[in-house]
Symmetry: C2
Subunit: 240 residues, 2 copies
């Protein structure tokens, strides 16, 4: 049995906070399957801790889960590369998504539907947050999330003549709109929706209709709305 030093335990635990992940360039992954996907995707392990090598009590101390997995790894974060916008592809822009479970689920949806790139405002929850990593079910390793200024991003799409789609309450029924195969789809914050400045920069405004006519249900969860929106783009463009 290997015994972890106090400072090693402290360092691993500190990685639950963004500032330490940023300072050290590291993040944590728990679970055999997730770790395997990370390694498959080319992530470099700094250190791997397995239950057969360290005590259960120590595993519990370094784990952020209620019931720790048999393996926990500290991995090096991917370098954020510059994104070069091409003239085609369907992209997603996330404005101020604050719930890590939502962000992880959204990345999983993008993985499923083959979205070409995902952008997020700087105040969106960190992609290396442990809850995002877990909820993404490995999608995080295959999709780099580009944190950027979304207003500037919208301008880049517009300057190339590409549409910027906003989803909100006063838009046009998405099922009765003609959707292109390329462009940027913006999704807004869980409670506030899209920032008014971003709304103004959209070239098309879409709405997911409610059969109940909005009489009761007030909103869809942002991950659900993202899934419905992307599925309709893919369906209309016949690439499903």
């Amino acid at each position: 049995m290997v015994k972890l030093s106090v400072s090693e335990v402290k360092t691993i635990r500190s990685l639950s906070q963004k500032k330490y992940r940023d300072a050290l360039g590291l993040f944590v992954v728990e679970g055999e399957k997730l770790l395997e996907e990370a390694l498959d995707a080319g992530f470099c392990p700094e250190k791997i801790y397995r239950r057969e090598e360290i005590s259960e009590e120590q595993m519990r101390r370094i784990s952020s889960q209620d019931s720790p997995s048999p393996v926990l790894a500290v991995l090096r974060k991917a370098e954020q590369t510059d994104f070069v916008l091409s003239d085609s592809g369907l992209f997603l822009g996330l404005d101020s998504i604050s719930d890590p479970g939502n962000l992880g689920t959204i990345l999983r949806i993008c993985d499923w539907f083959g979205i070409d790139g995902v952008f997020a405002s700087a105040n969106t929850v960190d992609q290396y947050n442990p809850k995002v990593v877990q909820a993404s079910m490995g999608a995080i390793f295959r999709h780099t999330l580009y944190y950027c200024n979304l207003e500037e991003l919208c301008m880049k799409f517009r300057s190339k003549g590409l549409p910027v789609y906003g989803t909100q309450l006063d838009g046009k029924n998405i099922y009765k709109s003609s959707l292109g195969a390329c462009g940027l789809i913006l999704m807004g914050n869980e409670s506030r929706g899209l920032d008014p400045k971003l709304r103004e920069l959209c070239t098309e405004h879409l709405l997911i209709p409610s059969f109940a006519g909005g009489a009761h249900a007030e909103s869809l969860n942002v991950a659900i709305a993202t899934a419905l929106t992307i599925a309709e783009f893919k369906r209309q463009n016949n690439i499903l």
Copy 2:
């Protein structure tokens, strides 16, 4: 300031467990908005606790949330009425859904899309579980969940000549299938999918295709899959 007795606190806390909710016929709702929706839907409050009336420390003791809401109410559960199957309508059957967040989100989706009734296997998480109530955002108060034997339910639909749709990996592309306006849609457990016995009882097998061709993404979250499935039924039947 009212001071709650030890036994009162204990009773409220016990309602986080199904056996006490069943025995007492009560459940807990936290938050002003949720409580308002419960009262609007005709639920009877046994007792309402407000932060201005009891101490914050007591509020923390009776709350199941990390940061307690300013109001917590103990409500009487709705009586489970018998369900009489008509010849029309679109229904959802949930097989062994175990995550309360998923169940709450699914009820919210049913509310949004106007599903006519929701059924669940007896081993599906309890609709009055506090996490289900919170995640449903009030949908729980407007949609009774009928716990029943899903195999018998399938037989009832079939005997009326109504289709039973299963969603699984070997089905037919949902976007290339012709979907009816009526019938029963079955969704399976988070990790095991639909029970084999239920699969056999389906009259149609549907699949939500992945653009990535299943190369990476292995599955969609069950709430996401439910949303995509129901939306496609509603879209094709032009009632959105």
